[in-house]
């Protein structure tokens, strides 16, 4: 009996679907008679599938705007294009905020936004204008509003990472150095869509986006606050856009949406409560799941006594983790 012995190259090519039908059938028959070789070839086939699966997610990612711009030949200065693009749609204050948060504190505080903002600005530490823009509450609040206005109209690429991907919270937490929890707003009819990483002055911030059955979207802007800047709930109304924001020890929050104040407040309260009860994602690479569970408590209880609008006791009805994060 002289059974044919196939070279590894031939077997490898067989794994990749190469060769004529008759060659392939011959090899398949030979493999059935040679279990040891077949096991080895199966290992290769598994590696092939594994490699394909490992990179499968990349093709579903939104195409980065700068790459699309290369092809479209529209590679102008991003900010200039943004301002141009939105000149017709945006109300004056948002346009001013977009430019001002990058360049001009003076324009934002003094000229455009008026006394309300000026008052808040007076609380800011005396720093250079640029740093003040980057760090004062109103600076990041403008960025939160700006990011909301930029990304919520996006039908397909509203988020960078979808809610279904379990690492969303972990990834954002590590990037912004503040615990990012995936708050569950389903009680108010809003499902988590996903999140994205954003520039935040000299640092980074995270935006979580939620959507209800009507397609209405709200965003939660999260950032690492400057030490000692805790604030209670505050509310700002800018045109149709309402914003609740508050700052705790480890996280600054801004909830942004075009909704009646009462509905936003209910969501803000829910986020506030959940922040106290949801476990924080681990800041270190997850060697085991245990690290994630340990860091939760104590991140956000400090502000309870200075928050007039929120309940003082955490509710017990909050789910431990939103199902949407699975």
């Amino acid at each position: 009996m002289n059974a044919p012995r196939y070279s590894d190259e031939a077997l490898s090519a067989w794994v990749d679907g190469e060769g004529s039908a008759s060659e392939r059938a011959e090899i398949a028959a030979w493999l059935r008679a040679h279990p040891d070789e077949a096991a080895r070839v199966q290992g290769w086939a598994r590696d092939r599938e594994g490699l394909h699966a490992a990179y499968a997610g990349v093709v579903d990612e939104p195409v980065p705007a700068h790459l699309a711009a290369v092809v479209r030949g529209t590679r102008a200065a991003p900010l200039a294009r943004l301002v141009q693009w939105d000149r017709t749609r945006w109300s004056g204050w948002r346009l001013a905020a977009a430019v001002g948060s990058v360049f001009l504190l003076g324009a934002v505080v003094g000229g455009v936004l008026g006394s309300q903002w000026a008052e808040r600005a007076s609380l800011a530490r005396a720093r250079t204008a640029a740093v003040a823009v980057a760090t004062a509450p109103q600076g990041w609040l403008q960025r939160a509003a700006f990011a909301h206005s930029v990304y919520t109209p996006e039908p397909r690429h509203a988020v960078e990472v979808r809610a279904q991907e379990e690492h969303l919270a972990r990834w954002l937490t590590r990037r912004i150095e503040a615990p990012v929890k995936l708050f569950d707003l389903r009680a108010m009819g809003f499902e988590l869509v996903g999140g994205r990483l954003l520039p935040d002055g000299p640092g980074k911030s995270a935006q979580l986006m939620y959507q209800n059955a009507d397609g209405k979207r709200v965003t939660v802007y999260l950032r690492k606050p400057e030490p000692g800047t805790d604030t209670a709930f505050r509310y700002e109304q800018q045109g149709k856009l309402g914003m609740f924001y508050w700052i705790e020890e480890k996280t600054g929050f801004a909830l942004v949406g075009e909704l009646p104040k009462e509905r936003l407040l209910a969501m803000a309260k829910s986020i506030y409560d959940q922040d106290a009860t949801l476990p924080a994602p681990s800041l270190t690479p997850p060697a085991g799941a245990s690290a994630a569970a340990s860091a939760g408590a104590g991140t956000s209880s400090a502000a309870a006594t200075v928050v007039p609008a929120a309940p003082t006791a955490p509710t017990s009805t909050v789910a431990p983790a939103p199902a949407a994060s699975r």
Partner: protein, 189 residues
């Protein structure tokens, strides 16, 4: 004359695939997008060289391959990815949920340890799922060379995964050895 709109549209459509190929070569999101950008720029600059009868993706992968090699020449430092780097990369890029993260990490780490000569054909075949003929066209090497490099890449990958290779990555065969390989589908009786 600038590239026509239809060419640009096809180029836009190819970006996700190009990003994936770049990612599998560099393992670093920003570096991969730089490579994709270079590929797109070269494609736009040389759009007249594209033969519409040919598969555009293969043409683009070929450009990406050259850009990758040029980049490596400029930066001769060896890329070495350790598992924690890869974990961060995967966090940044997101994987498909449900798959075995540990296995994917191992695979990606093992892939990163292959020489580019082996990695490129293996990735084109397994990740991009091109035929050997298409890989030969993209990399401008004979089909027999594709076959032998894929086979050796596979064996090396398995050795890495089975832990039978030391940290210096001494698995695999020396570069340049593929010329000695025999014809495709050689049967040894």
């Amino acid at each position: 004359m600038d590239a026509p709109p239809v060419f640009r549209q096809r180029l836009l459509d190819a970006i996700p695939r190009l990003r994936r190929y770049s990612r599998s070569l560099t393992h670093e999101t920003s570096e991969a997008d730089d490579l994709t950008q270079q590929t797109l720029e070269r494609a736009l600059a040389h759009w007249r060289q594209f033969d519409p009868e040919r598969d555009m993706l293969v043409w683009l992968l070929s450009i990406a391959h050259n850009a990758f090699l040029d980049g490596r020449r400029r930066d001769a430092r060896m890329q070495f990815s350790d598992p924690s780097d890869l974990l961060r990369t995967m966090d940044a890029e997101g994987g498909s949920p449900g798959a075995d993260v540990g296995l994917r990490l191992d695979l990606m780490a093992a892939l990163a340890r292959l020489s580019p000569d082996q990695r490129e054909p293996l990735v084109l075949v397994c990740v991009e799922q091109l035929s050997y003929a298409e890989v030969a066209e993209a990399l401008r090497i004979p089909i027999g060379t594709v076959m032998s490099r894929v086979c050796r890449a596979r064996q090396a990958l398995r050795r890495h995964l089975d832990g039978s290779v030391t940290e210096d990555g001494s698995a695999g065969t020396p570069r340049g050895a593929e010329g000695r390989e025999g014809p495709p589908l050689r049967r040894v009786v």
